[in-house]
Each structure stands twice: as C-alpha cells, then as structure tokens.
Amino acid sequence: MRPARGAGRPHPSWALPAVLFFGLFALVPMVLAFGLSFTTWNGLGEPRPAGLANWHALLTDGRLTRSLTVTVALTAVSCAFQTTTALLLGVWAAGPQRNRAVLSAVFFVPFLLSSTAVSLLFYALLDPNFGIVPGDTLGTTSGAFLALVFVGGWQFIPFHTLIYQGGARQIPEVLYQAAAIDGAGRLRRFRSITLPQLRNTAATSGVLMVVGSLTYFETVLILTQGGPGTDTAILPYLMYESGFKAYDFGYASAIATFLVVAATALSLLLVRVTGFGAMRSTREGM
C-alpha cells in the first residue's frame, strides 16, 4: 500500500514560529532599512526624506567602488586559501588512523573561539614591539590584507575541513579498490575519484564561504579598522562606520540594502553555477 500524499511530513503550521521570527527580526528590519535609505537620519529625532540622495552618493562618491573591490578581493583570496587547505586537510582527516581523529579534534579548536577573541589574539601577535611578527604588518596595505586572509582562514578552515572530512568519508571504498586494481596511483585516485565525488561538498562549503566573507566584520573592526587609510574597509565595515561612527544612518541603510541584494544574488548564482540546486547525486551510474 502506498502511503498517503504528504504522510510523515509535518503540518505547515509547524513553520509558523520560524516564519514569524524571520518576519519580525529579518524581514521587518530589512524593509525598514530600505525605507531609511531614502532619508537623512542622524539617529536623533525623526528621519527626514532625502529622496535618492543617499543612493546617488553611494553610486557616485567612489567609496562603494573602493569598498567593493576590497570585498571581492578579500572574498576571492580567502576562498582560494580556505578551500585548498580545507580540502587537503579534510581528505587527510577522513582516513582511518587514530592519531588523525585526535589531530582533527585539535584542528577544530579555532572554530570554537569567538571571532573577537581570535582577532584580539592576532592583534597582540602582530604587535611590532612585542609580537611574533616583526615589522609593520597592519600598517601596510598588503600586510593588512594578508593578515585578514590568514586570520579568517585560521578561524574558518577547521569548519570547512569538517565538511570535507564528512564528504570524503561518504566516498565508497570500492571506487578506490577498483582504481587500485586498474593501477591508478595516489594522485590519480585523488584527481579522478575524490575531487569529483566532493563536488556537492565543495558547493556547500563554497556558498557558506562566500556569504561568510561578505559579512566578515569583527576581524576587520578589531585588526585594521578599515586601515591603513581605507584600504581594508570592506562593505560591512563601511556600513558600520557610516552608521555607528558618522551617524549617517540613511547612507548606511543604502549600503545595507546593497549588501543584501548582492549577497542574495551571489548565492543564487553560486547555487546555479555549481548545479547544487539540482541536487544531482554523485552516485550516478553506481
């Protein structure tokens, strides 16, 4: 007997609390921020209508372009660094030996620390007088940029390693046995079995990484404050600075709206390009 349609699925009303919370704490503020982007408001008194002034300023004053360039560069370099490291570590950690389990647990520790704690730790380590890195790391553009990439990686690689480890463990052992019989070497097996089998894992990890990089904030706030000059002022930091330092909430809301639209578009694009949305199985033909 076939089960009735929808059997075993929870009633739609189960989604009510989540929908309500999402509406109240995500949609309503988003709509409010969008509305604020058409006003001038310093946080006191009533917002005054400003028409398209904030949007005009955002698109013409050059800050958005500069900030966007830094954001894209930081995202790209961070993703490349984190994916390579996490993939290799994850595949290695998927192995059977006991010491790997222990080491994997140790590797995971950075992820358990708060971003603020991690940033403060590296801030102290990068001190030119008393830290372990000599020279003016955070005072130069490339130094500050690389510090952000490294600190972000140090914190989030463990998480992505865990995802890749899970993915690699799911790869059927028979594939490797068959390849070994055919005489494929270690490298060949990695390239022709492990990598293709980890396609969906890479897509998951990639989307999380990109969206995470777009909202990367505490580390910039603590390590570089967007400096030197404005060379590491990524979009979320620019938004924070405009809103909570310069009290230009209209302009900050315009940046926030832009960020929401850009992040949504980007993650939809990523899902489509990677074919993740189709949920195509890696077990086809097996």
């Binding site: 006191l44 001190d127 008393f130 955070l138 400096g227 030197p228 000059g229 009290y247």
Partner: protein, 435 residues
C-alpha cells in the same frame, strides 16, 4: 510526543513574541520610570566606580528625598559608548542623565532639542557657578549656552618620557622643537625609538596634529574650524603641521611599525615602559595606565613635560589640547528635572573631588588645589592642575569638537597622512572638503 513538541514550539514562539511586544510597550513612556527613578549612562571603565559611589550617596541623601528621585547608574562598557548613547537617546529607553565629552559630541543632541540648557541653572546656583574651573565649565558649552557639568578628571595631553633613559643619554625634556629634534637624533643613534605611538587607534596620531597646529598657528586656527568654517583647514599652520608630521614619520621618530601598535591594547604604553621608546605624547590617563600595568616604572621612571614650543610659531607653550573633562548632561525629556539637577550638584562637592583624586584623577573643581596632596602622585597631580588652570587656551580634541560625521573622515585622512598614503597638500585639500 509529537503533540507535546508542537504545542511547546508554538507556546515558546508566542511567549517570545508577546514579551517582545511587551518590551516595546513598556518603553513608550519616555525616560524615567513612574517611581521617579532616573537612569544615568556613564562610560563604563575603571573610573566609573567614583560615579557609582556618588550615586549611592545621592540616593541616601536628603536632596534625593526632597526631589523624590533616585538614580540608577548604567555603566555602558567599551569604546562604543557614543554609538550606544546615540541609539538609546533615539529610543524610548533614553537615559535621564548622560556622560559626554562636551563640544561636538553633544551638538546633534542640542540641535534635536534633547539636551537641557543649564545656563540659567548654573547662573542661579552658587554651588555650580563657583564650583568649577571657568575654562573647563566653558568647554562644556555650545554657542555660549552651558549643557554640561564637569564630572571626571581633567585630561590634558602631556609629553611623557622615560626619566632613566633620558639620564642615561644625557637628554633633557624638550622645551623647543629644535631640542625635540636634537633628542630624536641622539635617541635614534642609540637605537631607541624616540616616540611611542599607538597609530592603529588613529586618535593618538591626531594628538600630534592638534599640538602642532596650536604651536604653529595658535588656538584660533582650530577655533575657526570648530565653529563650522571648514575653509579654516586651509590655514598655513595646518599645512606646516602636516609637513612637520611627515618629517617626523620619515625621520623614524615613531619607529617603523607604529601603525600596527595600538594604545587601547597596551602596545604603546608598554613600548615606553620597557624602554623601547623614550617618549609618548598622550592624554593624562597615560599615568593611570602606567600605574596599573607597570607600577614600578610609573613611580620611578616616568617623567612629564608640556609639548614644546615651535620656533617662530604663534602658539603659547602654556596652551593645552586634550579633553578638559567629561560632563553630565540632562535629557530634556526627563520625568524629574529637580532630581536630575540635585544629582548634578553632587559633582561640585568636596567629597566627590576627594574620591576623584584618590582614583588618580585631577578634578576640574575650583577647590581641588588644596586636596591634591592626597593624590597617589601629588607631584603629577599638581603639574596637571596647574597646567590646565594656567592655560591661556584649552583646545578640545578635534575628534570630539567637530561633528561625528566629519570626525570619521577626518581621522581617516590623519591616518593616511601618517602612513604615507597622502601628502600634506592632499591632506589639507581633503580636510577642506569635509562637511
């Protein structure tokens, strides 16, 4: 089990929503609870314990009973105080009394009609009128109207130096710019960074420009800018100050890595205390910082002197920059103005001044002079008190004096000048563009 969890989830969701709605509803009455309790926001650092004592003393006092009010002190932690105050003041849960830096830090509140004009109250009240140093009281004013009562120690910017290191190399605290440059050259030859600088925080860099502009062009240069004339940035003194900064940076006066050093995490004070740097231009709180972190250094080796004179400059060597003090201001929407004003009067009391002094602060009260012997370091306290009392001009820190929306880009330009991403000419041009 299924029914249970479904009910539980829905119940939890409803409760949360109701309480969220309830929170909003509670706050709609404006500041001040119905029982007459006043909320006071204070910057929540170590020094807030002095305010906490004052609050509990006030709550037990006859003045509080007469005004039917009690004060509840809310310590707002961290450097984000201005942002938190701004958000709270725009919300229904605004404080009745709040800590601030005077000047530009309260201009927006004044323009929005949210800060009480205390001019008449002070004029009519001898305790308030005669209780404080006039120059400090004046710094809390905007356009000649008083909006704040001094409530913390004075914070002039002072040139600190390592006495022992100076003695070892036969140096004297610089009284003129030439002497400062001479000290620099000799220190560099000895392999010591002349000046500690917490460039990562940017505001320590700003202190150099504040003093240089004052010494080169006199206090009127920034006065003009503070009063809204951005063309004042075009004064030749600003350009010369910026050039002087570049000469210092290029000459290695701050060492190579200064923009990776912070004041707030203790990097710059440690460089001074450990002898890696010989001098440190910093607010008077440097003393308490050193006393807290390196007590031995603070007591035996720490020296201080005014910022040197600039040859041919228009500024008096006695002029001071920094923060005159912090102020209590009153929210115009407070439910109990009498209680708020009664609480403000406690800041003029001798008991309050004594507590500030015991904490290592030098109060801005007129009676402080004779109490300074009780300070942890009477010599330093008296130096600081005299410095402020005798200053012909006390220029408020630029980032506090100008509007917050101009302060942020100004600090960015200062940072660019120091790290070499801007030239003195471009620095001046960028500042002239500020709103």
């Amino acid at each position: 089990m299924e029914t249970y969890s479904r009910r539980w989830f829905l119940g939890a969701g409803t409760t949360a929503l109701v309480s969220a709605a309830g929170l909003t509803a509670c706050g709609s009455g404006g500041p001040g609870d119905s029982d007459g309790t006043l909320t006071a926001f204070v910057y929540g650092d170590d020094a807030a314990k002095v305010q906490a004592k004052a609050v509990s003393r006030f709550n037990d006092s006859a003045a509080a009973r007469k005004a039917k009010g009690r004060v509840r002190l809310e310590k707002v932690p961290g450097a984000e105080y201005p942002a938190k105050l701004r958000t709270a003041m725009g919300s229904p849960n605004a404080p009745d009394v709040f800590f601030n830096w005077g000047g530009g830090s309260i201009r927006a509140y004044q323009e929005a009609g949210q800060v009480l004009d205390l001019t008449g109250t002070i004029a009519a009240d001898p305790v308030l009128k005669n209780g404080f140093l006039p120059s400090v009281l004046a710094s809390g004013a905007l356009g000649g109207r008083a909006y704040g009562i001094p409530m913390r120690g004075m914070q002039p910017v002072i040139l600190f130096y390592n006495r022992t290191l100076f003695a070892e190399h036969g140096l004297k605290p610089p009284a003129t710019w030439d002497q400062l440059l001479d000290n620099n050259a000799r220190l560099k030859k000895a392999g010591i960074t002349p000046f500690a600088l917490g460039g990562a925080d940017i505001w320590p860099e700003l202190m150099w420009l504040e003093y240089l502009v004052d010494r080169i062009g006199g206090p009127k240069v920034f006065d003009r800018i503070k009063n809204g004339d951005t063309a004042g940035w075009g004064d030749p003194a600003v350009l010369e100050a910026a050039r002087t900064v570049r000469e210092l940076v290029d000459g290695g006066a701050f060492g190579k890595g200064f923009s990776s050093v912070a004041y707030t995490n203790g990097g710059a004070p440690a460089a001074l205390a450990k002898g890696k740097a010989a001098m440190h231009l910093m607010g008077s709180w440097e003393y308490s910082t050193q006393l807290g972190k390196f007590p031995d250094f603070a007591r035996k080796h720490l020296g201080w002197c005014p910022f040197p004179e600039f040859e041919g400059g228009a500024g008096d060597i006695r002029n001071v920059v920094g923060n005159p003090t912090n102020y209590w201001s009153v929210n115009t929407r407070t439910g109990n103005k009498d209680a708020a004003l009664a609480f403000l009067r406690t800041c003029a009391s001798e008991q309050y001044a004594r507590e500030l002094i015991a904490n290592g602060d030098v109060p801005a009260t007129a009676n402080a002079d004779k109490l300074l012997d009780a300070s942890p370091d009477p010599e330093f306290a008296r130096f600081q008190y005299r410095m402020v009392r005798e200053a012909p001009a006390f220029t408020l820190s630029w980032d506090q004096a100008v509007d917050p929306d101009a302060a942020t880009p100004m600090l960015t330009e200062v940072n660019k000048l120091f790290v070499g991403k801007s030239s003195p000419e471009r620095f001046v041009a960028a500042l002239k563009e500020l709103k």
